[in-house]
Subunit: 131 residues, 6 copies
């Protein structure tokens, strides 16, 4: 269970409900997932998070699917179970293939491994890597 | 400084030197960066890491540049300074533009933020996100 | 389930039982939560943790509620589900309002985000921030 | 060094420069710290971060100093050296006393310790801690 | 639930099944645990992980039980619930006593605590600790 | 630089100085390392940390060297540069050989890798791993 009740539509205030409506419209589904229902206790945070998420995840110099892969990578490294599940589902919805998922995990695992080695060895940064 | 001396070519054993040679050949540069010189104290680990890295980062279902972006994302979340520097340099060498770098950071920051929110709220995973 | 059985009063040794008694007396409740029942396998650790916790969380230059907020912040960043739940409950018992909870989460999310940005950018510390 | 050049006023674009001006005005100092100069490569991120930071850190249900203490706690748990330095300096500027600093660190250390114990023991959350 | 279905023997491909067979033979049990069944979607990763694990965890300069203790320590710090459970079970199978488990946890907790203090204080490394 | 000045003997109060004396006597060296000099601003924390450290790291069911290896593992996973350096030096002082150091790093790297895989796959814990 969450540390706050998940707000059903009936329990959400007008401001939160308006954002739920926006989520439904933009995502073309009636389903509002638990993250937003937990955030709804703080409509200002709900609004700020939802607004920023749309800007950040929109197509740009990087493809939306690539952005989801990056999101999964960060969520994995941060150990956020909810986020790993929700963004793996989102990546699949955006077309992630099993082969892409497998390669993503291989890179994440490799990075975790060499991160640990570089930290345990306290390797100094090469001058040429400095911007 | 590292927790072990960085091995110059003269100090490296035959096995490590052979791998340095392979790194030089594959990367088409005489430069062997500090990570490998620190790992060279354990030629078996050096070999395993270098061999696996080539497999994992090779073109496949994901583009090599995308893999570098994922590597930076994980290294950032794990707080590995060396890895952030070296893989940002590697991503640039593979063509990462300033706009792509900026979008990568925006996604990493967004993920870090919602990871924290989902964890603080202990949001339960929606049934529909389960595979 | 825990990696060790949670010790009921009947299963706890005399030393652990004495500490359970102290927890009950100080907290004015008969309930001993799972953390202490898991720690009870190592009475010395149980004693050291319980004793230190009382010193650290006592009123001082910081208010006990502020200390609980800090505890939640650290537990969130460390991804400790048990600790997020137990200290959110403790903060509420000490008077944390929904508005304070919301602001706490906003700061934690903001910090997680700028932590990620500063790490990805490897920003050098300004001279003036040095003590 | 950072993974991007820190932008001096002369190198910053008009949009970034306008935000630098806002930072100077709000903070009543000519000094713009390195974090903002690194972020200035992406004026949209700079704007979003600076705008949100002001909202989040403003006086509200929690005191601005308490918010800085929480920021330090998260930055410590996330291992962000820049952020620990900059927010410790900010907390001092907002009146943090040595005694408050010491108590903050005591709580952060205690939380880190019990987070580790709860995770190693995989303690299940008590029913009564559920919201 | 996992982000991929756990592959039963009937669902696993020939390559994964061969590795399952190797796991069964080496571990002298018919039981193949969930980690390998989840990894089996990527037989190359399954093979690389299983092969490397055997090399790394084999008796050498460190005892296999000591290696399991180190594995638990890392898994705890990384907040990996599955890994804490599976390696605590593995350590017990290799002879870990309750007293050794308790001392392991005491060291992990102590390290987590002083890690936090050293990071919050940003203590510079003593010259004499440099290799 | 640290977020507090490192206290030289001349600047330390009587209580901190007494603990410095105890560190010198127990370690049979005149050198007091930076961690203790930073902690000395809070003599109560200095005392609590030093006292507990001696208990935790003393010979018991685990060898003191094994405890140092566990300490390095946790410090690496937590990304604490100071702690990695100081405990690698401590482990060497207690007899850690280069081969033991190499095996420690191999296990730490392996654990970091499988931690990431298990988290990205969200593998459910096998019933038989439950205590």
């Amino acid at each position: 269970m969450a540390t706050v009740p998940l707000l059903a539509d009936e329990a959400a205030g007008a401001e939160a409900l308006a954002i739920f409506g926006d989520i439904r419209a933009k995502r073309q589904t009636d389903y509002v997932n638990n993250f937003w229902r937990a955030l709804a206790h703080d409509p200002a945070q709900l609004r700020a998070t939802w607004d920023r998420l749309q800007v950040v995840m929109a197509p740009g110099a990087l493809d939306p699917l690539v952005k989801e892969l990056i999101y999964i990578a960060v969520s994995t490294a941060n150990g956020c179970s909810y986020c790993v599940h929700s963004h793996t589902a989102a990546a699949r919805a955006k077309g992630m293939t099993p082969a892409q998922h497998a390669e993503l995990l291989a890179v994440v695992a490799m990075a975790a491994q060499t991160n640990a080695l570089a930290t345990a060895l306290q390797v100094p940064v090469d001058d040429r890597f400095m911007a």
